[in-house]
Symmetry: C2
Subunit: 683 residues, 2 copies
């Protein structure tokens, strides 16, 4: 490899700047936790409520099952955390679910995971924003009254911020996340103290309401099904747990160990908050109904359409801190903020996963370049558009959106864990050291249990939520899967078509001679430059051609040509219909017909301007001609640019664009100088 | 001039086909009349009503002034027709007002006329469609109830038809126009017969209404002003009279004589119809008010907002033929159709004028090519957009739109006639033959009177209509004028910048050596072709470069390169951030820094595909790289295309596009093989 030796300084300076800009400092655990955990921790803002909502179908009496459901969620959370701790150790480079599934289960499993992840990113945005708006609305009624509008507004705002490329720092995540976690813990502790020590009866605002049970006295299979459905909803607390496994490279050393510790910490926090909120909801007698307008009764009368059902976390906060109190407001604001941050993680993950999929040719190749602004923008806009669509369709109602949410998460959990089992099997086959083998067998057992449990949950989720909305998520996955398969197929087909034959390497592409043609409209500097350049590259034949659309102009051109004594023959092509493109194409085709084994090289002088509106005024016929010439076999088309003064403006813009930072860099860790096994999606 | 000798057959076949397709048969007078006269003849559908509307401000008693106003309009019509007959003789090539003004009065006058014409085309569409909808609505009430919707619908329909490129024939214009003219004449004759011979009292549907005069008993200056305003409105009958002067080349020989005859015929028809309708309106006691809802009284009570004021022509037809009778319906349909045809003439004229303005560098150059589909489409869409905007803003109310209409027409009449006076002065200076001189002096007198009279009308129109809406038209003209001046200025600036110096012709553009670089990503057919082509053009130095974004792929590339024994050195450029564009740009800049007098030639293998979605999947980084390289001085960029199988689809589409006909060809006459003094705008 001839290493590039003449511009190393520029490269070095470029790299140095880059590193500096990206803020490539590795994350200590105390910062890594909030950076990665805003998504899973924020889910406790809506997951407990969803459990109560589902149970309410069987009446308030069914609420007493909620602790059991909480226990099931906790067990599941421990399982998933334990499983991903294995991932973190096995893939210290940040083995995302997509990569784990592809490597161990093959490309179809990988693509399934990728489709699930893409759908999930969209839902993360939709659900988190909707829930954030609802939480904010418990303190600011205006927001709830204009729910869809506000939700769309926040999505647009996040989108613009991400398109602009904000400079990120760990603190941006740390402050709201710690305020939120701290607030919830203070609430739980203060609530417990008040309830148990002071013996104060705290009452949620809905404590006096009764619930009209849609199915009174459920039992047997119907009850089990309802409990499973409540459990499925509770599983929303697990979304985003896997994020850390993608971000291992961003951790301080020892990376894997620190990541595993952070993962455990996050699991413990999430579980405690989840259970604490459920317990407080029981103690303060929060009443929630799936259809509050008709099923929630105040003094025996339905509350009606005007009723706004506040999230459990805000009802509990109201009971503990008092409505409108300082702490209540702070907690509502922090909850909304953490939920918005959770939505923001999807803005980072979606384009990154896109770039990895592009690398594997499932998405357009231009998404491949990491941190490429254009690629990034396309991903962002697609994500935001889909999320806005969902928010509008579902009226920014987090409860209805959550029905769609959990399928994707558990598809990728299950496939990733199954992949890990294969991973250990493979490694066990080649490993002799009994200590290491023991360790691997243990890891395998954990992952196997994880795969089994998450698979079971997936089945439960599908069974209980399919008609409630999971089918929409599945349809989304099928669309992504189909599109990506088609793109890959196209690339493979093209690759086959253009593959160079092993024998006679270029027998079919080697012409014998070249005939150069310079396009001339007027004799000005761009034309003179094109002529000079064409002469530099010695063709077997060189001529200038001009399309005559105006007899007088053509005459003037020929006269000046002679006067200047230009030593390239000028040929005039008549154009009875004042067309430019067609006569040139016909002429070039004529040359090719005369000597089919010759190549034709067409030189086009081009103005380079700096503003888009100037583009409208220049080069349009050159562009069209180029477009058409490319379809003519045996032709190469050379643009000889002439930079007008205004082109400086465009250069400045380009420089500015290079200074742009792709959001999400904090989560991703430093850029590896050579492409590593890249951190993958969201999981 | 080395005439093109190797593809004459193709050119000939092309031309033959073209001629055939364009239907380049010259028009006999009986077809030319409807082709050119739909605009002026159709104006009699609204002009008489506008006169009555204005007079009604002073009460029904003021209606007795209407014959005098009709006389004034007739005199004006004769003046304008006589004037344009001089244009037709002086510019047998079809001297449009823009060209007459530019040639004789200078570019500023020409540009003023052009701006007026562009505004006028927009208003022709808006007014004709609005009036057509109102006429149709007198037979089909639904249409009037959804006026704006229907008007926009018709505009969209016309736009699509014109974008598609309909095949035109003279009959398309002839049938509705002759039905319309015939219908109006039958109506006038039958009405006269009934009224005078049978002594039948025909009553218009509004005959029993009374009008609440806004200004009872107007006298003195106020009355004169009102009469002038009514006259201004009546002048709407003159719009489009000049169309024939643009279309002389489409006539059979003797072209000028036939055109002049047709012009006279058209004037006679228009005047007769205009006066006949006014007379019938008087006889049948048609009552119209500017604000019918409040000022039109039925038994002393205002008719209110629900009242629909039908056009005069339909009220008269109702009185003569009977409401809902066969002839009534036919006339209403023919009136609407002729008005839509009149709108369609603007769709032909606007892009044509655009192409002439582009030729003079007042509009983007790519509009220059006659009958170019892209240029044509842009013009059409711009025209339709502006017309829809006006229709929506003014509620498709023809009365309100007409306030804007007449300014532009008379600006171009006046300037064109003034230009003609100059024209004769110039010719008189060089002419000795007394007979010819006499003739010229006579023509000059006619044009001078025309200029004086139309100028007077312009002043009247401006004075009486400025606040009613003429200011909007003037603003439109100023915007067009300003934009076109700015574009011309830009082109002139660029032309200065790129003008080749007279001395030392290309001292500043001639590099000494050339360094060729072939961009390589993989070793496939496109790359091999690019390498082969690059070798054909002997550079002083030739190398291949590849940006390394993946160590394994780069290794594979190098191995294959060696295995195939490719005799071009391969240089690998590291790209720590997986970028493609920047490292290449830096490398090229480095080469230029090393030897500033060398040129660099970059070869980029490109896939050529056939569908837009395939474009999304290929060449994006190549395109971006090309875009950036063009900004680097001393570089030429060569695309070496490789046509994939799917590119055939695009070729087919391109062929189909070539078979497209620009609408309006019938009016324009055959294409001249060399650019003639082109027929100009609408005037």
């Amino acid at each position: 490899m001839s290493k590039l030796t003449d511009v190393p300084k520029r490269i070095l300076i470029g790299r140095a700047l880059r590193s500096d800009k990206l803020g490539e400092t590795l994350l200590p655990k105390r910062i890594a936790l909030p950076v990665f955990a805003s998504d899973p921790l924020s889910s406790v803002a809506y997951a407990p409520g969803e459990v109560l909502l589902v149970l309410s179908v069987a009446g308030v009496s069914a609420y007493h099952f909620s602790p059991w459901i909480a226990v099931a969620v906790v067990v599941l959370m421990f399982t998933v955390v334990a499983s991903y701790r294995q991932n973190v150790h096995a893939y210290p480079s940040g083995g995302g679910d997509y990569e784990v599934a592809t490597t161990n289960l093959g490309p179809k499993a990988g693509l399934t995971v990728a489709s699930a992840l893409l759908v999930d990113y969209v839902l993360t945005v939709a659900v988190s924003i909707a829930s954030g708006i609802e939480n904010l609305g418990s303190a600011v009624p205006f927001v709830v009254e204009h729910k869809v509008l506000c939700a769309v507004g926040v999505i647009v705002l996040l989108t613009l911020m991400n398109l602009r490329g904000v400079k990120e720092s760990g603190n941006l995540f740390a402050i709201p996340t710690y305020v939120f976690v701290g607030g919830v813990f203070v609430m739980i502790a203060w609530g417990a103290f008040k309830g148990m020590v002071l013996d104060d009866t705290m009452k949620a605002p809905t404590a006096d309401y009764t619930i009209h049970a849609e199915h009174q006295g459920l039992a047997g299979f119907a009850l089990v099904f309802l409990l499973l459905r409540a459990f499925s909803s509770g599983c929303a607390a697990l979304t985003g747990v896997e994020a850390i496994s993608n971000g291992v490279p961003a951790f301080r050393k020892p990376k894997s160990k620190n990541a595993a510790t952070t993962l455990a910490l996050m699991g413990a926090l999430a579980v405690t908050m989840f259970c604490g909120i459920i317990a407080l909801a029981m103690a303060t007698k929060v009443r929630m109904a799936e259809k509050p307008a008709t099923d929630l009764l105040s003094n025996g009368v339905p509350v009606g359409d005007g009723y706004v059902q506040n999230p459990v976390i805000s009802q509990v906060a109201e009971a503990v801190f008092g409505k409108g109190s300082f702490l209540f407001i702070i907690l509502a604001a922090a909850t909304a903020l953490v939920l918005f941050l959770a939505a923001n993680t999807a803005y980072n993950g979606f384009p990154l996963l896109g770039s990895i999929l592009a690398q594997d040719r499932y998405l357009p190749r231009q998404l491949h370049t990491r941190g490429d602004r254009l690629a990034f923008s396309n991903g962002i806009v697609l994500l935001a558009g889909a999320a806005i669509l969902l928010v509008v369709i579902y009226g920014a109602d987090s409860t209805r959106l959550i029905q769609l949410y959990i399928v994707g998460v558990f598809v990728s959990f299950t496939l990733s864990q199954t992949g890990m089992v294969r991973h250990w099997n493979r490694h066990l086959a080649g490993e002799q050291d009994p200590a290491k083998r023991r360790h691997m067998v243990r890891s395998r057992a954990i992952n196997a249990f994880g795969a089994f449990f998450t698979g079971l949950v997936l089945v439960v989720v599908l069974a209980t939520k399919f008609t409630h909305g999971a089918w929409v998520a599945l349809m989304g996955m099928v669309i992504f899967y189909g599109t990506m398969t088609a793109i890959r197929k196209h690339y493979d087909k093209v690759a086959d078509e253009i593959a160079a034959a092993e024998e006679r390497p270029d027998e079919y592409v080697r012409p014998s001679r070249v005939h150069s043609v310079v396009l001339v409209s007027k004799l000005h500097k761009p034309t003179l430059r094109a002529l000079a350049y064409a002469k530099l590259l010695h063709a077997n034949q060189l001529e200038a051609i001009s399309v005559s659309v105006d007899a007088a102009e053509t005459k003037a051109l020929k006269d000046e040509w002679e006067r200047r004594g230009i030593d390239v023959p000028l040929k005039i092509i008549d154009s009875p219909y004042r067309e430019i493109t067609r006569p040139v194409i016909e002429y070039v085709k004529g040359l090719r017909r005369e000597s089919p084994r010759d190549a034709v090289s067409v030189y086009i002088p081009e103005y380079v301007v700096g503003h888009w509106y100037e583009h409208l005024l220049h080069n349009q016929s050159a562009l069209r001609l180029k477009g058409r010439l490319l379809f003519t076999p045996g032709v190469m088309v050379t643009s000889v640019p002439y930079q007008l003064q205004s082109s400086e403006a465009a250069k400045k813009r380009a420089r500015k664009r290079q200074e742009w930072n792709a959001p999400g860099s904090v989560r991703r860790g430093p850029v590896a100088p050579q492409r590593p096994k890249e951190p993958s999606g969201k999981g």
